[in-house]
């Protein structure tokens, strides 16, 4: 017995195959020779197939969309954590650069004191 997901997937596959058949040349040729009520029934059945395909595809995609949405908070938290780790690296560089500037000033003062 296939799982519900597999059953949906198998049904979708069969519906798509049926749609393709109903668009084919042999189908056109066969339906052309049929009385009006058969052609009408076939047209309505084709639209039922098309509608069922859309519904099943929507259900499958909505299911995944909902599962992805449940991941969003963690994904945003991960992005923030990585950005923060990157900022910490940049901070080290900033502190070292500031220290370099400070030492330049200190060197100038030392030179001034020595010559004074």
């Amino acid at each position: 017995m296939p799982a519900p997901g597999e059953l949906k997937s198998m049904t979708l596959k069969e519906l798509r195959a049926a749609r393709k058949d109903m668009l084919s040349g042999p189908w056109r040729l066969a339906i052309k020779a049929q009385p009006a009520e058969v052609r009408r029934a076939a047209a309505l059945r084709f639209l039922d197939v098309e509608q069922a395909i859309l519904e099943l595809e929507n259900a499958a995609l909505a299911d995944i969309r909902d599962k992805l949405a449940a991941n969003e908070a963690a994904l945003i938290a991960g992005t923030k954590a990585l950005a923060k780790a990157r900022q910490n690296l940049a901070k080290v560089q900033a502190v070292l650069e500031a220290l370099g500037t400070l030492l330049t000033v200190a060197a100038k003062i030392a030179k001034f004191v020595a010559t004074g």
Partner: protein, 295 residues
């Protein structure tokens, strides 16, 4: 400890630092390449999603148009409204998937920014600068040696090691906290793009059947004579059928990205797998570019 031993220890420490830095930097480099692939992947998703919707509407319109002569006005109205409602629902779902792809992109951008940071050069330059400045105030470290090895020579490998270690620690922490969530995320992306790829191939195939193959068939079977371009159109129909497979490039790339992430998180991502990942993502990006150019 003799001077000779001290010198040997210092050199050994220097080599150890460099070797450890190499191991860390390999992992960091892999993270950077996975991040690049992730960004390229996420960038390509919207074009494929847009195309999938256009193909859905086209396949749906074919059916509605063909059936129209057999329906009453009430039936036409009811069928069109029902199908429109389903397509609006589809559009909302696809919009959610596109928005989510942007979040995934941001994650890979942040990962890339951490591991591809130019901090090593920046920190190394700043440190060298400090050593130079200290000499200006009378403390000349640049000429000092530790066990015969100039201190200045320690700075670059030590900074590289320090930065790589920091990046590695941050990466390990992130993978520990959220590695499984990203794995699940990529598995869901694979599933979504698998469904979208199947839908695109089926809708495009339906369109080909309706617009190309069925007319060829009818012309041959029921036509009084064959049009002059009948064979050329037949060849084109076969070629277009083969091209349908390219619509599944998105699912192939998503699958590879998912597998590569697992291998990366387990620290067993090899060069061959990385090259396959980059090839699949490139194919996906090429498909996305082709679709963007078409629209």
């Amino acid at each position: 400890m003799t001077i000779g031993n001290l010198r040997a220890s210092a050199l050994a420490a220097l080599i150890l630092v460099a070797a450890a830095g190499c191991a860390s930097s390999q992992r960091i480099e892999n993270a950077g390449r996975v991040a690049d692939a992730g960004v390229a992947f996420a960038d390509s998703v919207p074009a494929v999603i847009d195309e999938s919707f256009a193909l859905s509407v086209t396949a749906n319109s074919l059916g509605l148009a063909d059936s129209r002569p057999e329906l009453t006005e009430d039936e036409r109205s009811q069928r069109l409204q029902t199908n429109d409602a389903l397509l609006i629902q589809r559009l909302e779902i696809l919009r959610g998937l596109k928005r989510h792809a942007q979040l995934l992109r941001s994650y890979f951008v942040a990962l890339g920014a951490l591991v591809q940071s130019d901090a090593t050069t920046g920190i190394s330059n700043a440190t060298q600068n400090i050593v130079k400045r200290l000499s200006d105030v009378g403390l000349d470290l640049s000429k000092k040696e530790l066990a015969g090895v100039p201190i200045a020579d320690f700075i670059q490998p030590a900074v590289e090691f320090g930065v790589a270690t920091y990046q590695n620690v941050a990466l390990t922490r992130e993978l520990k906290e959220r590695g499984h969530i990203i794995e699940r995320e990529l598995e869901l992306q694979r599933a979504a793009l698998g469904i979208i790829g199947d839908q695109m191939m089926s809708d495009k195939d339906a369109q080909l059947e309706h617009d190309v193959r069925a007319p060829l068939f009818m012309e041959y079977v029921a036509g009084t004579s064959l049009p002059g371009n009948w064979n050329d159109r037949r060849i084109a129909a076969f070629r277009q059928t083969i091209d349908l497979q390219s619509l599944n490039a998105a699912a192939a790339a998503a699958d590879n990205l998912h597998q590569s992430w697992i291998a990366f998180a387990e620290n067993r991502l090899d060069e061959g797998s990385l090259l396959r990942l980059l090839r699949d993502v490139e194919e996906f990006a090429a498909l996305a570019d082709k679709l963007k150019a078409k629209n």
